[in-house]
């Protein structure tokens, strides 16, 4: 049975409100604009098929990001290595060449392992809480809390210049 027009209108509003942030989230997890756009399409296609059940207006954003994450995982989960809890995040980040430039911070973000980058992106771009990210990813809230904290700490230290020499700088000392 077709959805009533009020539901269609709600869906259209959601597409207009969230497609940009979903694209950005998906771009930063897969680093491929075309793939990110396809995943946005898939996300809304799946959202549409379950739209009738989604009555909580406040939860729509988190719900859409959860679907987007699942769609990305469906494509890439097999290629994804297990998160290494011992990894030294700070040493993975190449030293900034200009901390004032968004381009450098974007590169630092891209250098974070996906298991640390993903929850931080869901938090910053998606506005999800640690509990919501935990529910979306199947990890415990404590694990997400730790990963987000470590990712933030590494980026903060990187911005402050308080970090061990990065791999790139070790290869190419200036």
């Amino acid at each position: 049975m077709p959805l009533p027009s009020s539901q269609k209108q709600r869906f259209e509003q959601a597409v207009r409100a969230y497609s940009s942030d979903l694209f950005r989230y998906l771009y930063w997890v897969c680093r491929d604009r075309a793939q990110a756009e396809d995943l946005v399409q898939e996300t809304f296609a799946r959202a549409w098929s379950a739209w009738e059940d989604q009555s909580d207006e406040k939860a729509v954003r988190a719900w859409l990001f959860t679907i987007a994450r699942r769609e990305h995982a469906r494509l890439f989960e097999k290629k994804r290595p297990e998160a290494d809890p011992e990894v030294d995040l700070e040493s993975l980040l190449a030293p900034p060449q200009d901390p004032g430039l968004a381009i450098d911070l974007g590169r630092a973000m891209a250098s974070l392992p996906i298991d640390y980058r993903d929850p931080l992106l869901l938090q910053v771009l998606g506005g999800l809480s640690c509990a919501e990210i935990a529910a979306a990813s199947g990890a415990t809230e404590e694990t997400i809390h730790t990963r987000v904290s470590r990712a933030r700490k590494a980026l903060r230290a990187w911005l402050d210049g308080d970090r061990p020499a990065g791999r790139d700088s070790q290869r190419n000392p200036r």
Partner: protein, 224 residues
């Protein structure tokens, strides 16, 4: 809540802090400072992550929904697109070459982020001299040149200049020996806008953090 609890809570992000954490921050200067730093990091992160969104994305999603299936880019369509683009690039070189220069300029700026950090003291007349060599001048002063070097690009050696304008740095790539007659093109990628255009002699690319900045400099470039 004590400082240790607060730091543990705030470490995972400044959003959605519990009311007791907010109360603690109001009473503790050190934790308040930590919270400000977290918020500042979030602002900078949001800025860095704000990549341009494909034009018409929401409309394409809505069209796909109304047609009952997602409008994906099938593999064959991508392949056909590449073949078509290659054929058109061969058939209509100026149009696509111009777009190519904007893309090349963006890539070049991404490869040389140090150009925004290094402060050189090039001769004050350098910008005017280089522009005059291409039959151009600036209709008004845009700012101080902070970086000037020669860089190899696909279309020949470019003069790479960074100008410190009141709205932020703007990069000029001057290609006096570019023999192509380029159509004007504009491209946006990862937070930068590039405009490539033909000069009376050679071509010029302008790269800035916003389209408004790049357009402002473009409008000031006039024939000498």
């Amino acid at each position: 809540m004590n400082c240790i609890d607060f730091r543990r809570t705030a470490g995972a992000g400044p959003r959605g802090l519990a009311s007791e954490a907010v109360v603690h921050a109001a009473q503790c200067a050190a934790c308040r400072a930590l919270l400000y730093r977290q918020r500042e990091l979030d602002v900078r992160l949001e800025e860095a992550l704000r990549v341009p969104v494909p034009e018409g994305l929401a409309e394409r999603v809505l069209v796909a929904r109304s047609s009952g299936r997602p409008r994906l880019r099938p593999t064959w369509a991508v392949a056909a697109g590449i073949v078509l683009a290659a054929a058109l690039a061969w058939a209509v070189p100026p149009l696509f070459a111009g777009h190519g220069l904007a893309g090349e300029a963006l890539a070049h700026v991404h490869e040389e982020p140090q150009s925004f950090r290094i402060r050189m003291n090039p001769p004050t007349a350098l910008l005017a001299t280089d522009l005059a060599a291409q039959g151009l001048r600036l209709a008004a002063d845009v700012g101080e040149v902070t970086y000037a070097t020669l860089c190899p690009m696909a279309t020949g050696t470019a003069r790479h200049l960074v100008i410190s304008t009141p709205e932020g740095p703007v990069t000029l790539l001057l290609l006096p020996r570019d023999a192509e007659r380029r159509a004007r093109s504009q491209r946006e990628q990862e937070g930068f806008t590039a405009i490539a255009l033909a000069a009376p002699r050679g071509s010029v690319a302008i790269v800035a953090a916003t389209a408004r900045q790049a357009l402002a400099v473009e409008r000031l470039l006039v024939p000498a």
